[in-house]
Amino acid sequence: MVDSVFLALSVLTIGSAIVALEIRSLIYGSIALMLTLSGVAGFFLLLDAPFVAMFQLSVYVGSIAVLILFTVMLVRRDLIFNKVEDKRRRYAGIGLMIVLMLGIGTIIIGSGLKTMDTHSSAVDYKKIGEDFLTYYSPALIVMALILASSIIGAMTLARREDVINDQRAD
């Protein structure tokens, strides 16, 4: 059962990733990207990590894919994309990907991941939270600072000076 689900998810994820790269229509490409990201969420569910899976769905599919869709729909594509058709580039990309996958695969197989215990119970999300607030608290603080600074930066960039005060909504 799990094996067949894994196979189906792999086919869905990789297939829609290829479709997202290759298809002409940008809208269908972004839909295929959404499918890829949902497939990754399915892998997380298979790995007994529903917490990560739900965040994958709500952040990647619910926000980032929407952002891509929004951009694709609002921007005229002639302005931002110019077609460069080059067969050799594609083959170079495929070759680079195969080399990368082989390298990462040998590293993973050689790292002793095979001896991992696959029958352990799923990690509770409360444990993740406790770890974040105790052992990994410096990382949490650094992440919070990065996010806060990026939000402040975005607000500064998005602020408009040319709007007259009467037009503001408040």
Partner: protein, 433 residues
Amino acid sequence: MSTIAPQFRLSRFIASLFDLIFWVLLIFSLVGLPIVFIVLFYIKLPVINGQFMTPYLALTWMADPSRTLPIVKSFMHTTIFRVMAFPGFGFAALLAAATIFVERKFLAKIQLRVGPLYCGKIEGILQLMGDGFKLMSKEIIIPAKADKPIFWVGPLLFVGTAGAFVSLIPVAPGWVVANPNVGLLAVFAVIGFFPIIAVLTAWAANSKWTFIGGLRALHQMVAFEIPLILSLLGVVILSGSLNLSNIVESQEHFWWITFLPIGAIVFFITILAELERVPFDLPEAESEIVAGWLTEFSGMMYGLIQLGTYLKLYAFAGLFTVLFLGGWNGPMVWPPFPQDIITHGITIGPVTAKFPGLPLFDQDMLNGTLWFVIKTVGVILLILLPRGVFPRVRIDMILHTGWYKLIGLAFVNIFIALGLLYAGVLGPGGLLH
């Protein structure tokens, strides 16, 4: 002169009938019977009254009403019943259909009209059924330059997503379709799909009204998702769980609305915006952009979108009930099942009929469902009320409210929850817990 069948011959007609019967028998024996056997091989059949249930036995028992009840009872504890009937789709669709009718009458009464009146003699009670038949019999028109695959799939995806949302709402103790440990996060994940479907179908219809409506829907929903998520964090902090059933159980003594009224108000406003209801109904503003992103839908496709919208409304109202109004908690008002019938059976004159397995639902479940439905209907009426009262708001006002005021209020709510938690009043191990 034209006739319906110019060269009609009875012998040919009878021959064609035999032909038909032959093919039906052949296909049934070659395809139908194997399918039946494969299905019977894989379906897990229950053991009832010490007897292994086979389809043959089930059909025999169905003829005897006193033996039907155990079968019905065992069916009610299967997953398929939960998905299709009680806490799942059937129950929600029933409430959603009632909501559509009540909304029309309710708005009419607010505006001193009569509303639906003639269909079904009594206060137009059959109007909804008539509308449903009308929608089913109408032609489905696809715009010529529409993107057909997305346009066809859109309404189905919308209903499916709304159904997934419904399946997460616990109705009574133990009666919920899906009960994941991270239920609230699953709700957030499901909510995130609605703007995608809206904007994709709006784009696929290839019309300016739908596209404007879809962009408005996207703006509005994405903007209000953030205060929605933030306003619910207070509840999570105080109840110490993301599981919706556990959150309901944590409100046995106090509803969270008593401690987190700001969060409840923020959540209610975001519900209105997520549901595209007045005063935030810009994505389908009738007087400006025809019907917004629903403009090009016709026939049953529009019917599916309507069904999905009202399922979503029920799910949001149920979520409000679960998170802030104590869910199924309430005083026990449901009368217990009479013991006489269980022990002695029903006696009518000289005949005594015994019904094994009679209390189909236990008292807790019925009482919980009663309170849940009462509270949810109250929240639904509160959601319907602004439609008769308020005008539509401008888009920049909506976004301003969402991004500035509601997020600020949601943070105030989180700080209140944190204060209550660190003061040791509430939360896990608190004074009042």
